[in-house]
Every structure is written in structure tokens, then in C-alpha cells.
Symmetry: C3
Subunit: 330 residues, 3 copies
């Protein structure tokens, strides 16, 4: 893609000519077709010294001599760089192809521009949308619907009754739409009997799901991961959970059945969320916090911490009190 066109798409101002760009790079790895970015003026010199053909720089950066490099001026160079990577990736997307070793049911509907890699299994009636990539060793169950420009990186398992909208990324080893953890105890025998898990999993546009993360299907209804939510690695999402838009969930967090995370919630790593919890829009939960069953957390931008999770200011005061009292005792 030409640097002038790219600048237009990412809201940057292009100066110093025009150049063909094929991918982003670090200063060290840059070539004449590479785009690099400079967040702080102190990195300008390194960028100028690199082989990069073009560089994203702060809108007001003072550059006496751009040394023949094209400049893309942006008020948010970091965001511009992220957007540029999205654009360059899309423009580079390879042609559709189904590897000869893939096992695709004759009733599956794989778009001609989709790419299906080695040893993939696609079940009866599944749909794979335009330009989507199903990485090596993935298993796509019967009737699964995958939208456009999705990327199932490698060895992903997706069970029936799962639907994905567009531009969803699922990393290696993730398991989507697995039966939830639901049992009924027979008081007479003490044994647990599996409660049927016949619900769905619905994944919205632009969701990202991390490596070896597990998201269970609903029990009778649906588990929902809404547009723009980003789940890190080794996260667990139980049945009937609803994750709102643009929610952030950091690695190794677990969410029990039927809990609701509203839009723009931020959850740190290793947080434990019990069942039927509601975390209202904009709440921030610190790493390793624990939220008991049925609890409601509210307050846009309010940070909760600890187990049971409370406002971080209270939590820190309590820590201070305790250490003060302890030192006294000496």
C-alpha cells in the first residue's frame, strides 16, 4: 500500500513524498518497505538512522532532515501504528485455499477466499466466511458459523452452536463452546449427575480470545462475548456468562456461571468472579481480586481490589492499619 493512502486511512498527515509499504517493523528489522513509529522525540534519531521507508511521528515533531524518509504525522502515533498494522495486514491477506490434508464435510460452506490449513476438521453444515483463516489442527464442529476476516490461529476447537461475527481472533489451543460445569447432586447417593448443557456461544465482532482459554456454551441459553472484548491467555468463562463490549480480561481470570460484565469493564489477571455477579459499566477490578456470588460492583472508573473485592482506597487503608498495629506490638 502507498504511504499516502495509508496515511488517509489512519488519520495521519503524509509528508516528504510517497512510498510503497508492506509491513511494520522495529528500527532494527526495518527495510525500505517498512513502517516504523516514534512515540517520543528521544527515539527520533534511532528511527531516522533505520532503513525504514516511512515513519509515524508525533504531529508536532521537529525534524530538520527526514533523510529521505516519508513522515506520517499523527496526534497519537501509537494508535496510528496499530491502525496501520491492521490496514497493511488486510491488504496483504493471501488468496483462499483449502489444504489437501484438511477434512471438510461436503455440506460445509467454506468461502472461496477463506484459508483452511493442514489437518483442519470442519463438520457438517459449518460456515467459514470470506478471508477467514482456520489454522493448522483446528476442529470446527457441525453447524458452527464463522464470519469474515476471522483468524483462528492454530489448533483451536470450536463446538457446535457457536457463532462468530467478523474480525474475531482466536489464539492457539482455545476451546470455544465446550459444555459448562453443571451437575445435580442426588442426595440419596451423593453422586453428581451432569445437567444438560445444550446452549449456545455467541461471539461478536473484533473479539480476541487468548491461547488455551476456555469459553463454555450456555446451559440452555447462550454465553455471550460482545463486540470488541479482549480475553487474554488461560482465561475461563463459564456457562451463561455475558461479557460486554470492549471489556478487557487479563490472563488466568475465571468467571463463573451467569455473571455479567457490562461494557468497558476492565478485569486484571487472576481475578476470580463467582456466579451471578454483576460488574457494572466502566468498573475496574485489580489483579487477583475475588468477587463473591451475586455481588454487584458499580461506579465508572472505580477500582476494586482484594478478596472480597472492595474499593482500592479502603483496601490500602486496611493494609496500612494492619502493618501499623503489627509494628506497635514489637
Amino acid at each position: 500500500m502507498r504511504s499516502t493512502e495509508l496515511a488517509g486511512r489512519i488519520g495521519a498527515v503524509c509528508e516528504g513524498g510517497d512510498v510503497e509499504l508492506n509491513w511494520i517493523a522495529s528500527f532494527a528489522g526495518a527495510t525500505a518497505q517498512s513502517l516504523v513509529f516514534v512515540e517520543h522525540e528521544r527515539f527520533l534519531e534511532d528511527a531516522l538512522a533505520s532503513q525504514a521507508g516511512a515513519m509515524i511521528v508525533p504531529a508536532d515533531a521537529e525534524i530538520a532532515d527526514s533523510r529521505g524518509k516519508v513522515l506520517l504525522r499523527s496526534r497519537n502515533p501509537r494508535l496510528a501504528f496499530a491502525l496501520a498494522a491492521e490496514e497493511l495486514k488486510r491488504s496483504a491477506s493471501c488468496p483462499g485455499r483449502v489444504d489437501a490434508s484438511a477434512i471438510v464435510d461436503s455440506s460445509a460452506d467454506v468461502h472461496p477466499t477463506a484459508r483452511v490449513d493442514e489437518l483442519v476438521v470442519i463438520g457438517a453444515g459449518a460456515k467459514i466466511g470470506a478471508r477467514s483463516h482456520i489454522g493448522p489442527g483446528s476442529v470446527i464442529g457441525p453447524g458452527v458459523v464463522i464470519g469474515e476476516d476471522c483468524n483462528l490461529v492454530a489448533r483451536v476447537v470450536v463446538f457446535s452452536e457457536t457463532t462468530m461475527e467478523d474480525r474475531v481472533t482466536v489464539k492457539a489451543g482455545a476451546v470455544l463452546g465446550s459444555d459448562g460445569y453443571g451437575f445435580v447432586r442426588d442426595a440419596a447417593t451423593g453422586r453428581y449427575h451432569k445437567f444438560p448443557q445444550t446452549g449456545r456461544l455467541e461471539i461478536g465482532n473484533d473479539v480476541e480470545i487468548g491461547a488455551n482459554t476456555t469459553v463454555d456454551r450456555g446451559a440452555l441459553d447462550a454465553t455471550v462475548i460482545s463486540e470488541g472484548a479482549k480475553l487474554d491467555n488461560l482465561v475461563h468463562v463459564g456457562h451463561n456468562v455475558r461479557v460486554g463490549r470492549n471489556v478487557i480480561i487479563v490472563a488466568q481470570t475465571g468467571i463463573s456461571g451467569s455473571s455479567v460484565l457490562e461494557d468497558n469493564v476492565v478485569i486484571g489477571g487472576q481475578v476470580g468472579i463467582a456466579d451471578h455477579v454483576r460488574i457494572e459499566s466502566g468498573v475496574i477490578v485489580g489483579a487477583q481480586s475475588g468477587i463473591p456470588s451475586k455481588k454487584v460492583l458499580r461506579g465508572k472508573g472505580v477500582v476494586f481490589w482484594g478478596t472480597p473485592a472492595r474499593p482500592i482506597t479502603d483496601y490500602l487503608k486496611e493494609l496500612a492499619t494492619l502493618s501499623k498495629l503489627t509494628r506497635k506490638k514489637k
Copy 2:
């Protein structure tokens, strides 16, 4: 299966005729061959309005007009529904088949009624019992023994020296019988050398193991998961651990080497259990609790919480004390 026969098997009383049933359903998804269930009278109207051919209802539910639906009256509708699902599933089990893409060692013994899916690898001398299902992409090591009616859902790895009894469910991505985490430090060099992990993994009847859960083999002896234990997703079980009957272990809990969980123990999510711990029969451990090395927890029905885990009453009192003292200080 006929509703009258099903009623007999699940200890329900059938009234209002007889109907052929093929699977359970939600009210919305029900057809004339579907069974639905009503736990509380307030849902009766929705159930009666559904397309379901039969409904499980409380034994004493007052129903003026069943609108041609067969009623299965039960003192525990939820349990009856779970049992009904087990019965209907068993009666529906498909015929045996080994997919052409599966790689089965000539010395493996796969029962003719077993189902082996796409791209499964089964090693020398392995045994797969009647009606068991080995899902796509699974790897079954040499000499592994899998009983009857087991379900390895997809992409499960089972290493040699692992045995499963009957009706075991293993969800996608689980790793069973992997080498444990055991090393010997060479004080002279500071390096760690792997201590041989040559033990076994024994899994009892009716065990369920969650997605991406890991259960390590014994070091020299065995790791044991006893009959009826249910492990959720992303759980870790170390070498030589013994999990008792009907034990519940919720997602992301980790159990270190040689610890013992006796029968009917309940472990919440994200609990950390150190090595050589003993949790006696019927103890309940709250989510995120931590149990230090060699500790013994006892008391049927006693709930432990916190790190280090203590009776929940003590834990809550301590929380109250701390917050009171903190408020005073203001």
C-alpha cells in the same frame, strides 16, 4: 424412548398418555419429541405453551389442563431432568466407526462399537472400550486403557500408563498422564535435574475432566482420580495426588504433589493446595483459598476460606475487625 419407560428409569410418575422422546430441550427449542422440565410452578405456563411432547413437573404441581402433554411427576424435577438426559443420550448412542483418517496401531484393541474420529492417533496396545468416543485430533498413548461409554470430546492427549474406567468424560484440550514437575537440584552447579516420572494415572467411573485441564502421572506410583469426581476447566493436578469419590473441583484450582482430597470434598475455583496436604471427607474450601504444605483440614461440612485457609467464620470476623479498626483511624 417412550415417556413411560423413561419415567420408570428416572423414578418419575408418568401421566396423560405416552409419547416417543428423543432429547431434552429448552421451552423455546422444544419439539413434539422433546422433554422439558419445570422446577418452579411459576414456569408452568411457559412449559405448557411450548411445543414439548412431555414435561417433568414437581410431584405436587397442580395442573388443570396439561394441553395434551405427557407429565412426568418427580419430587426432584432438576435431578429427574439430568437423569433423563443421561438415559436419552445413551439410547441415542451412534454405531461404532473408525474414521479413515485416524491412525490406529495394529496392536491396539478398539471395540467394534467404539467411535474414533478424524485424525486421532492410537498407540500400540491401547484398549478402547464399548461405545466409547475418541474425539477429533486426540492422541492416545501406547498401552492406555479406556473403559466403556467414555467420551474424550476432542483433541485430548492421554499418555501411557493411564487407565480410565467407565463413563469418563474428558473435555477438549485436557492432558492426562503427563510427567509431573519433579527435579533434583545439584547444589554444586545450581542446576535442576528431572527426577524420573514413571508412575501411573488411574481414573475411576463417572469422572469428568474439564477443558485444558492437566493431570500429571505419579512419580513412581500413581495419581488417582476416584469414581464420580468432577474437575472443571484449567485445573492442575500434580503427581501422586489422590482425589476421592464425588469430589468437586472448580475451575483453575491447582493441587500440588502428593496431596489427598478425601471423598465428598468440595473445592471452589482458583484454590491453591500445596504439597502433602490432607483435606478430610466432606470439607468445603472456598474460592481462591490457599492451603499450605502438609496442612490437614477436617470437619464434614465445615467451610474454610482465605490464605492460609481457616474456618470462614474466623476469616469473616477478621475482615470485620480490620475494617472497623481502619474506620476508627479516620
Copy 3:
């Protein structure tokens, strides 16, 4: 291997003749070609009663009648046993072979002594070193470099830009070199955009990585796991993390971006380490501890515990204070 030769390699003194040994064993499983070990004199009788051809015993063990068994006397029987297992395994390593079902790119360089199992996928330009084993269902990305005597047990995914030195063990389900969790938020829309993750993953000699563990590649530079580090199951290592030599990381611990663990650090299970943390050489962090962003922990042999992590002595005093105050209130 002859017992005399083995004794020489593991620094033990051989007495009572010479015997051919093929593998280590427990007392119960031992044959005439098996080596067993005795850590405490109280186990001597059981060892002597076993079928073992040779036994490792404490240097000063008093043995009146060795009953025809070869004795390998060592000052550290446990370590000697571990070293013996390494030696016997190496001597037993099977001949190279690429299974017919493996899909190996014609430009990949697989050493003739390497073993590539069923349904492995190896990408363009990848290198597999001498005597390395790529277990069934593994996916090796383009350009990946794997050294000598490595063992990728089964169903491991390794992405491009990952390099492993020699004698690296990677257990089933691990995901190495996956994109990190990095996004840029667009304040105007509230949406998160993926920040390019184009860095590398470098793994040193003798590293062990656990089952279903995830290690992300660097964002622009490298994530590094240094020589001799041992990671347990279900561990998460974020982008740009640097793990030092002979570091121990127990199961389910998570390490956020750009944190540094210096040499000989020991991290318990379920520990949460935030971003940009530095843990200095020889520090020990107790299970379930939490280390806040940018924190530095120092002190060889000092044990930290709790969230936020503090010296364990302080932590325990605080626990004591709290329970004392609570009891008073009654």
C-alpha cells in the same frame, strides 16, 4: 549401559560386579536390568528384596549382604538417580524417523536422527536438530529453530520467530511464541486495537515448559526463557518477559509483560506478577503471592508472601495481630 560405566558418569562408586542396565524402576516394577535407588537406610530391605539388578545407595550405607545386586554408592542418591535416568534415556534414544502422516515443508531442515511423529506439521525453513523428538499433532511454524535432543512431547504449537537451544522439553498442549496481549485504546471510540506483536521468543538449553502453558513472543523485541529454567503446567508468560537461569515457576503462575526474573529465582504456584516487575537473583516468592506493577523484590534467599508481596515474617506477624485482635473482641 553397563553399571560400571553409568557409575562413572553419575559420580557414584560401583561395587559388587557389573550388570547391563536399561532403565530405572520402582522396587515393585524392577527387573534384572533395572536400577532402583535408596534414599534412607530404612528402605534398604525393600530394595534388596526387589528384582533390581543394581541399586543406588547412600555412600556410607552398611550392607552385610547385597544379595548379588550391584551397588552404586553416592553421597546424594536422589541426584544420582536423576542423573542416571538422563544417561539411560540418552543411551536408549531411538533412531530418526519422519512418520508418513507428518506434513513437512520441503524447505524445512529435519536432522536425519530426529523423530517426527504422526500428524505433525512443520513449516517452511524450520530446523529440527539431532535426536530431537516432535510429538504427535505438534505444529512447528515457519522458520522455527529447534536444537538437539529436544523433546516436544505431543500437540505442542510453536510459532515463527521462536528458537530453542538444546535439551529443551515442552509438554503437551503448550503454546510457544503466540502474539502477546497488547492493545491501543482509541479514546474517541472506546475500542481497543491490536498493537503489532512482531517480536521473538528465545528458549535456552535445558529449559522445561509444562503442559498447556503459554509463552508469548515479544512485542517488538524478545521474550526470553534462560538456560535451565523450569516452568510447570498452565503457567502464563507475557510478552517481553525475561526469565533467568535455573528459575523455578510452579503451576498456574502468571507473569505480565516486560517483567524480569533474575537467575535462581523461585516462584510458587498461582503467583501473579504484574508488568515491569523485577525480581532479583535468589528471591523466593510464596504461592498465590501478588506483585504489583514496577515493584522490585530483592534479597538472596528472602521469602516474600501475600498480596502485595512482603517478607513472609512481616506477613505472618500481621496475620497473628489480626487474629489476636479478633479474639479480643469476643
